[in-house]
């Protein structure tokens, strides 16, 4: 029997699912802090969440090196699944990856370990896909920046607690920087490099 017998399936309806997921990610990036839902039905190898799996199948291809954090690479399931469905190369060097999948957000590595882009090509930076507990309940974050009218309020339970403080690196580096997509099950929230934290509360 073939070794991929236990491999979870990809999208049930490839074209429509990829289109709707792309739309959700685009909306999330255009309106930082807003919660978007991934509706596509998708197979998930542990510990990948539905939202992460849908983003992977939509945006990853053979031109996008992927870095997996220790939690994601605990078993070879995730790497095998990515290879089969997206043919994206999984790399050990986080400084050259286009996307990094973070399963254990509390152990998020220092951002300088990732690709930050160059002044000529700021887009050649890593997009972090971070799996968090909850994007509807928890601490209140007030965000400002392009795409936000006035200020946006995000209520979320996010590890690490100092994520936004660490993202202040984006202010110094601009136009280089790190874009983050937070995922909790089927909910996604994007924190592009231009978004700034202006207040927080419990």
């Amino acid at each position: 029997m073939t070794t991929i017998a236990e491999l979870p399936a990809g999208f049930a309806d490839k074209v429509r699912s990829a289109q709707s997921t792309f739309r959700a990610v685009m909306e999330a990036m255009a309106r930082p802090g807003s919660v978007q839902r991934v509706v596509a039905a998708v197979g998930t190898p542990a510990p990948i969440m539905r939202g992460t799996a849908a983003i992977a199948l939509t945006l990853f291809d053979h031109d996008t090196p992927i870095w997996l954090d220790p939690k994601m690479s605990e078993t070879s399931e995730v790497a095998k699944w990515l290879k089969f469905h997206t043919s994206a190369p999984v790399v050990a060097d986080s400084s050259i990856c286009s996307f990094a999948l973070i399963g254990e957000a509390s152990a998020l590595p220092d951002f300088v370990q990732f690709a930050l882009g160059t002044n000529e090509y700021p887009d050649r930076s890593t997009t972090l896909v971070v799996q968090v507990k909850d994007l509807t309940r928890g601490e209140v974050y007030e965000l400002r920046g392009p795409g936000i009218y006035g200020s946006a309020v995000l209520q979320a339970t996010i590890e690490p607690k100092n994520l936004f403080e660490r993202l202040a690196i984006n202010e110094v580096l601009f136009p280089r920087g790190i874009d983050v997509v937070l995922v909790a099950d089927d909910a996604i929230v994007a924190i592009p490099r231009t978004t700034r934290l202006v207040g927080r509360g419990g």
Partner: protein, 155 residues
Amino acid sequence: MTASETNEAERQARRAAAMAVLAHCCTEEIAERLGGIALPAHEDVREAENGLVMVRGRIGGDGAPFNLGEATVSRAAVRLASGEVGFGYALGRDREKARMIALCDALLQSDAAADAVEAKVIGPLRAAISERRGRKAAETASTKVDFYTMVRGEG
């Protein structure tokens, strides 16, 4: 070689032979034959998709290899409820054909359905192909010209 290895080798050979048959059949033929057997529950692991492969050639079989051009290919992967995974690749953009080939490949690996598929799908299709080839060869043979006399006439 142990008995299980021999068995495995036989099974692989049977799969390869079945693929050779299915690749030369059209979608309707395979669908018609597959309709005649009871299909177990199955799902698409990889939904059928189209892509391109680079076709390489070499003149005379021993010349330097060169890229001839790209050809469209469809592929699919199907998994039966019992766990067998089948793969299907077919030239052209017919996704349904790739999906059915993958299904046949999966069925050929399952003990329950392998013999039925071999007898009711692969066997008849193989017979149809060899009949087609035989007819074509006969048609071609009937137009054969014997150049022997012309050569003799010159001399």
